[in-house]
Symmetry: C2
Subunit: 372 residues, 2 copies
C-alpha cells in the first residue's frame, strides 16, 4: 500500500521523537462500550466476535471515536486473542466472564499441534486494516490520522491459551513454567513467530505503527519476566524490524520496575501505566525512546476541573511537547462507564495546554530519588 500524505502526522513524529506543535493523544480502547454509537454497532453485529470479525463493523467502530474527538491516531478494532483463535483454540466470549478458549493448551499433544496460523485465518483482520485506511482518507486524498495495528505479547497470549480464560494467579501457566519449561518455551516461540507474521501482515495491509500489549507481564516475578515475557517480545521487535521500519510501542502493564530492560529491546516507545512517575521513567529511559501514557482512567470520572488539572500535571511531568517524544494516553484501557463528554475535555485539554506550553523552556527531569 502506498503511503498517502497524512493530514495529521503528529503521532508518528512524536514516536520518532521529532518536535511537534502539541502533544498527540489517543486512548487505549478508544473504540469501546463507553460510546453509544459503539454499543449500537455491536448490537447490529450481534456479538463481540461478530463485530471484530466483520471488516465493515470493525471499520465503523474504529472510526467512531475519530468522528467524535480530534484524536491523533486510530487503532484497529480487534481482539488481542485473534491469533490463538486462528490457531484453532476456539475463542468464545461468555457474557460477564470475559474470553475463554474451548481447547486450552495443557499437555504435550496440545503444544505439539500449535503452529503459526495461515494468514487466511486472520484475513478478516487484514481486510479490516485496509478498509479502515480507506475510511480514514479524506476527499482530498489525505489520510486523517495514522492507523495503529496491534497484538497481544507472546506471554499474554500464552496466559489465555494455557489458563483457558482470565486468571488471578496464573497457576496453570506458572506450573507449566516450572514443571515443563520445554513446553512453555515452545508455546512462546510459536507465539512470537505468529505475532511477527501477524504484525507484518497488518503493516502490509496498512498499519502505520504497531503496539504490543503485554497485559499480564506484570504477573511475573522480577526473575521470570526477562526470560518468559521480555525475551519473546525481543523476538517480536527483532522480527518486525528485520522486515519493516514501522514504529513499535511496547506496553507491559505493571512493568514500571523494568523500563530499562524494555528500552533495551530497541522499541520505539514504551507505554507507561499510572503507577510510574514520568520523571522516573524519563530518567531511566534517558531519551532512548518515546513514552506513552499515563493518566489513571479513573480520572475521567472526576469532572471537568479534575480532568483538566490532571491532564496538565501529566503534560508538565513529561515536559511535553518541549521534550519531544511524549504521546498522551491513559495508563490502561478506558472504562466502559466513562462519560463520553469527559473524553472531550481530556482531548481538548491535551491539545490546548500542550500547544500553549510549546516553546517554553524544557526542564530536566529530576532523578527518581529526588521525586519519590
Amino acid at each position: 500500500m502506498t503511503t498517502p500524505t497524512l493530514a495529521n502526522d503528529t503521532f508518528l513524529r512524536a514516536l520518532r521523537r521529532e518536535p511537534t506543535d502539541y502533544t498527540p493523544v489517543w486512548l487505549m480502547r478508544q473504540a469501546g462500550r463507553y460510546l453509544p454509537e459503539y454499543v449500537a454497532t455491536r448490537r447490529k453485529a450481534g456479538s463481540f466476535l461478530a463485530l471484530a470479525k466483520t471488516p465493515d463493523y470493525a471499520t465503523e467502530v474504529t472510526v467512531q471515536p475519530l468522528d467524535r474527538y480530534p484524536l491523533d491516531a486510530a487503532i484497529l478494532f480487534s481482539d488481542i486473542l485473534t491469533v490463538p483463535d486462528a490457531m484453532g483454540l476456539g475463542l468464545r466470549f461468555v457474557e460477564g466472564e470475559g474470553p475463554q478458549f474451548e481447547r486450552p493448551v495443557r499437555d504435550e499433544g496440545d503444544v505439539a499441534r500449535l503452529c503459526v496460523p495461515p494468514r487466511e485465518n486472520l484475513q478478516y483482520v487484514f481486510d479490516a486494516t485496509s478498509q479502515i485506511r480507506r475510511a480514514l482518507t479524506n476527499a482530498d486524498g489525505r489520510q486523517r490520522v495514522p492507523l495503529i495495528g496491534f497484538s497481544g505479547s507472546p506471554w499474554t497470549l500464552a496466559c489465555y491459551m494455557i489458563e483457558g480464560e482470565s486468571s488471578r494467579d496464573f497457576l496453570t501457566i506458572k506450573t507449566m513454567m516450572m514443571r515443563r519449561p520445554d513446553l512453555l518455551e515452545r508455546v512462546l516461540s510459536v507465539n512470537a513467530d505468529a505475532v511477527v507474521d501477524y504484525l507484518l501482515a497488518q503493516v502490509a495491509a496498512g498499519a502505520q505503527a504497531l503496539m504490543l500489549f503485554d497485559t499480564w507481564g506484570g504477573a511475573l516475578s522480577y526473575q521470570a519476566y526477562p526470560r518468559w515475557s521480555l525475551a519473546f517480545m525481543q523476538r517480536v521487535v527483532d522480527g518486525v524490524r528485520a522486515a519493516s521500519t514501522v514504529p513499535l510501542i511496547l506496553f507491559t502493564k505493571g512493568g514500571g520496575l523494568w523500563l530499562q530492560a524494555l528500552v533495551d529491546t530497541g522499541a520505539d516507545a514504551l507505554g507507561l501505566d499510572w503507577t510510574v512517575d514520568p520523571a522516573r521513567a524519563r530518567a531511566e529511559v534517558a531519551g532512548r525512546c518515546a513514552l506513552q501514557g499515563n493518566l489513571d482512567p479513573a480520572i475521567l470520572f472526576g469532572g471537568t476541573s479534575a480532568i483538566e488539572a490532571e491532564v496538565r500535571r501529566t503534560i508538565d511531568a513529561f515536559d511535553s511537547p518541549n521534550v519531544p517524544g511524549h504521546i498522551f494516553n491513559l495508563g490502561h484501557g478506558i472504562s466502559q462507564f466513562t462519560p463520553p463528554d469527559a473524553v472531550t475535555v481530556l482531548v481538548e485539554t491535551v491539545h490546548a495546554y500542550s500547544r500553549a506550553r510549546a516553546g517554553t523552556a524544557p526542564t530536566r527531569p529530576a532523578s527518581a530519588a529526588q521525586r519519590i
Copy 2:
C-alpha cells in the same frame, strides 16, 4: 502482659536487623484453606466469620501451621475487614464472591456517622490474641515463636468500605477522591485512628510484632499513592510508635516503585512482592529497615527441585542471613490450592540453606541498573 522468654526469637532479631544463625520464615495466610486441618476447623465453625470471631477457633487455626512446620512466627488468624465491621458496616461473605459490606460508605451522611469503634466491638480479636499467646507457650513456660498482629491499611480498608466489595478498577473510591476529597480524607482519618487503636490493643493483648497490609495501594497512581495511602500509613506508624516499641512491617502489594517513600515512614521492615528484585530493594532501602519476602506463591506448585532452587536463589539475592534483616516469606498470600508438602520443602530449605550460608562473606548488592 509480661513477655515470657521466647524459645525462638529469630524472627524478632531479624526484624531488628540483628545477626541470626539462619533466615527466619513465615508465610502470609499460613493458616488457611490449603491445610486440611484448617478446613476441618472451618467446617466445625460453620462459616469464615464464625471462625474469625470465635477465639477458640481462631486460636486453633493460628497454631495449626506451627504444629505442622517449624515456622519462626505465628500470625493472628483474623480478617482484614474486622475494623470496618466493628464500625457497623455489616461484613458478610458470599460464597465465591469474597467480602461485602451491607452498608457501604457512599455519601456525606455515611461518612459523618463513621467513628473509631469501641474496643468491645473487637474484643473477640484481643481475646483470640491472648489465647493464642497462651497456646504458644510450652510446658517449660517459654513461648515457641513470636505472635504477629495485623490490620489492613487505612486506604485498603477504605477501598472495601466505599466500593462495598472487591473491585478491579476502584472507580467508586477514586471518584470520591476527585469529587469529594474532604469525605475521603475523613474516612481515611477515622481509619488511621481506628487502626492505631486496634493495633495497640493487639499489642496490649500480646502481639509482639505488627504488620500493615496495604493490599490495594498498588491500584493508586504514583501521585495519588503518597497522599491517599502512604500518608495514612505514616499516621499509623507514628501512632503506634508513640505508645509502643513493637516492630511494624509495612506491605504495599504492587508498591515496588515506592520503596524509598515506604522506608522513610520509619517502619521496621517492608514486605516485598515478587516483582521486586531484592538487589534493587537492598540498594534503595540502603540498610534502613529489614526486608520481608518475596517468593512467588506459584513456585509452591513447581515440585521439590523447583522450590529448593527458587528458595536458594532468593536467599542468595538477599545475601541472607549474612546481611542481617531478611525475613523469608512469599510475595503474597499462599494459594488455597498449595500442596501442604510443598510448604515442608520450602521451610526446610530456608532453614538448611541459610544455616549453611551463615558465616560466608556478605556480598554487596549490585545497583538496580546493573541487575535489571
